[in-house]
């Protein structure tokens, strides 16, 4: 099952001169393990995948066009729906782009608040990624544990922003509310508990023989390939690409808080999952640093009610939980952006899936798709 494609011997049918017929297999858009509404048209030769065509667009909502018809402030809400597993991070990218366009300086407290909620969102997103990956491979318990831990973050967000996960919390120039009373103490207690729970999850997953057999050596990407396909995020870092925008293009509070980049050299599905697991621990550390250093002061800069940035264009990217999530905005001087383009990490990471699947067995397809951790809202927009 976990053979690499070079090692695969020709099947016995081919040895005696019988060629089996190619089969087209349609996977999705309603399939429990395509992570949303992705459709894959697989060409099979026996059990082996010879070709794969992803069909996307089942969740296309015309979001980039909608941005042009909304004011810059109204656009914040729509970013929540693009990458719906990490809405807080998408909002950071959007308001960051608007601030860069307007030349706004964000207060230091707001920067640290953004770092705190952003890293919490990264933990929540990775928990869903790990949990749903494991349920794709047939293990039911990890998703129960992961969602239990995720509920803690969602209830903290609800106390902070009033909504569970499409938060609409960030504003151009800062954030919407200050922390409620006692919120930071609850955060600390939650992180202590989460660290314990992550240890349990680690022991449950990473020592499991079945999980190792299904993921080690499967879906191998080497460093050059990762660079050529433009992969970012855990996908690239599991293939030995030391690239993290929080470190190499630091923005906001990351200029003051150093991040340990989680890099692994194996480049297989197991490494991708492990990078996500270790990134959660790193995020907990960053959250604790933010809690310790949380400076006093204003939570939002003084901004006019109607945002009218000067004419011009800008690109601002952050490290999302899936990779480089950027916004390219062109302004014509009015309240509305003339053009808004999202650089979605899931869309770029999806491009390598046909290349990855080719040569592997049908049963590995689910393991490989799950390890890419794509969000279809982010792919189709």
């Amino acid at each position: 099952m976990s053979q690499k494609r070079e090692e695969q011997a020709p099947s016995s049918d081919e040895a005696i001169g019988i060629k089996s017929q190619e089969m087209l297999l349609n996977m999705g858009p309603q399939h429990p393990s395509t992570h949303g509404v992705l459709r894959l048209v697989l060409t099979l030769q026996g059990e082996t995948i010879t070709n794969c065509t992803p069909v996307i667009g089942y969740l296309h909502r015309g979001m980039e066009k909608i941005f042009e018809n909304r004011t810059l402030m109204q656009g914040i809400r729509y970013t929540d729906n693009s990458d719906y597993l990490s809405p807080m991070l998408c909002e950071i990218a959007y308001v960051g782009a608007v601030e860069q366009l307007m030349g706004l300086e964000v207060p230091r407290r707001a920067q640290y608040m953004r770092l705190l909620v952003g890293e919490m969102q990264r933990i929540a997103s990775h928990l869903v990624a790990v949990g749903s990956y494991l349920i794709d491979l047939g293990a039911v318990t990890p998703i129960l544990w992961a969602f239990r831990d995720r509920e803690g973050i969602l209830s903290l967000f609800e106390a902070l922003a009033g909504s569970r996960f499409t938060v609409n919390y960030l504003r151009v120039g800062g954030v919407l509310h200050d922390f409620p009373k006692g919120w930071l103490r609850e955060c600390e207690a939650y992180f202590d508990q989460l660290e314990k729970n992550l240890g349990e999850l680690d022991a449950l997953i990473n020592g499991n023989e079945i999980f190792l057999a299904r993921t080690q050596g499967v879906g191998f990407i080497d460093t050059q390939q990762a660079l050529h396909y433009g992969l970012t995020g855990p996908m690239a870092r599991a293939s030995g690409v030391n690239w993290d925008l929080r470190v190499h293009r630091p923005y906001m509070a990351y200029r003051e808080v150093p991040v340990n980049v989680q890099v692994r050299q194996e480049g297989d599905c197991f490494a991708r999952n492990l990078v996500r697991m270790t990134e959660m621990r790193e995020s907990i550390r960053l959250c604790r640093v933010a809690l310790d250093r949380m400076p006093p002061g204003a939570i939002c800069a003084r901004v006019p009610i109607a945002l009218r940035p000067p004419r011009g264009e800008t690109y601002f990217a952050i490290e999302n939980s899936r990779g480089e999530y950027g916004f390219y905005l062109i302004s014509d001087g009015s309240e509305y952006p003339w053009r808004a383009k999202m650089r979605a990490p899931s869309f770029v990471n999806l491009q390598i899936v046909p290349e990855l699947l080719r040569g592997y067995k049908m049963s590995d397809a689910v393991a490989i798709i799950g390890s890419t951790d794509i969000v279809l809202g982010c792919v189709d927009r």
Binding site: P29, G36, V37, Y58, H60, K65, N81, Y84, L85, I143
Partner: protein, 202 residues
């Protein structure tokens, strides 16, 4: 039924036909302490053995509604969260998300329906065996929601399939989804039966 005036003597009124109609007892909660899910409307009348059998059939059906595992967008994450231990949908017999439409009773349309997805959704609905129900979850599926002026979204899933329960919210909380399932349970319990106090004549 609740919208009809209780004592209408209008001879042209198709419901009362000139006669006096008994008011339907409505148990409307005045506060959270009075709220009992599944007991918001008047009880059904069981006049014959056939009614009794129908009621028993409905009761059995309403207690294990198996949804189709069909997530579309953001609401699907809340649907997943509702099935997990914190909210525990299995308390209401609906935790078994079937991957095949042929084994499912209920289609939870969780998320935005795009123009490309519309025919697929209709096909899946047609593949589900009778009796089947549809629950529209979230504003996108209800009415188009915040994508009301998009060129590629279906403005409400009820333009494609008949919808039994609408759950508002963007996205609805898991409690709201559970409430929607309980409303559906009420609806299933009353299928083919008359409310108590309702005129038997057509």
């Amino acid at each position: 039924m609740a919208d009809q005036p209780a004592s209408s003597n209008n001879i042209n009124d198709p419901v009362t036909r000139g006669g006096k109609r008994k008011p339907i007892p409505l148990a409307i909660a005045r506060g959270p302490h009075e709220y009992l899910p599944g007991e918001q409307e008047g009880p059904v009348q069981l006049a014959s053995l056939g009614d009794l059998l129908t009621w028993a059939e409905n009761w059995a059906r309403s207690r294990s509604v198996w949804p189709l595992g069909y997530g579309l967008a953001c609401c699907a994450i809340e649907m997943m969260a509702a099935a997990q231990p914190h909210y525990d949908l299995s308390r209401f017999g609906s935790e078994v998300f079937r991957s095949s439409p042929r084994q499912a009773d209920l289609m939870i349309v969780a998320g935005t329906v795009s123009v490309k997805m519309g025919p697929r959704l209709r096909l899946l609905w047609e593949q589900m065996p009778e009796p089947k129900w549809v629950l529209s979850m979230g504003q996108c599926a209800n009415s188009g929601g915040e994508f009301y002026d998009s060129y590629y979204t279906v403005q409400g899933v009820d333009t494609i399939v008949p919808v039994d329960v609408y759950v508002p919210g963007c996205p609805p909380r898991p409690e709201q989804l559970i409430e929607g399932l309980l409303k559906l349970r009420e609806k299933i319990l009353k299928q083919g039966l008359k409310l108590r106090g309702e005129d038997e004549r057509p």
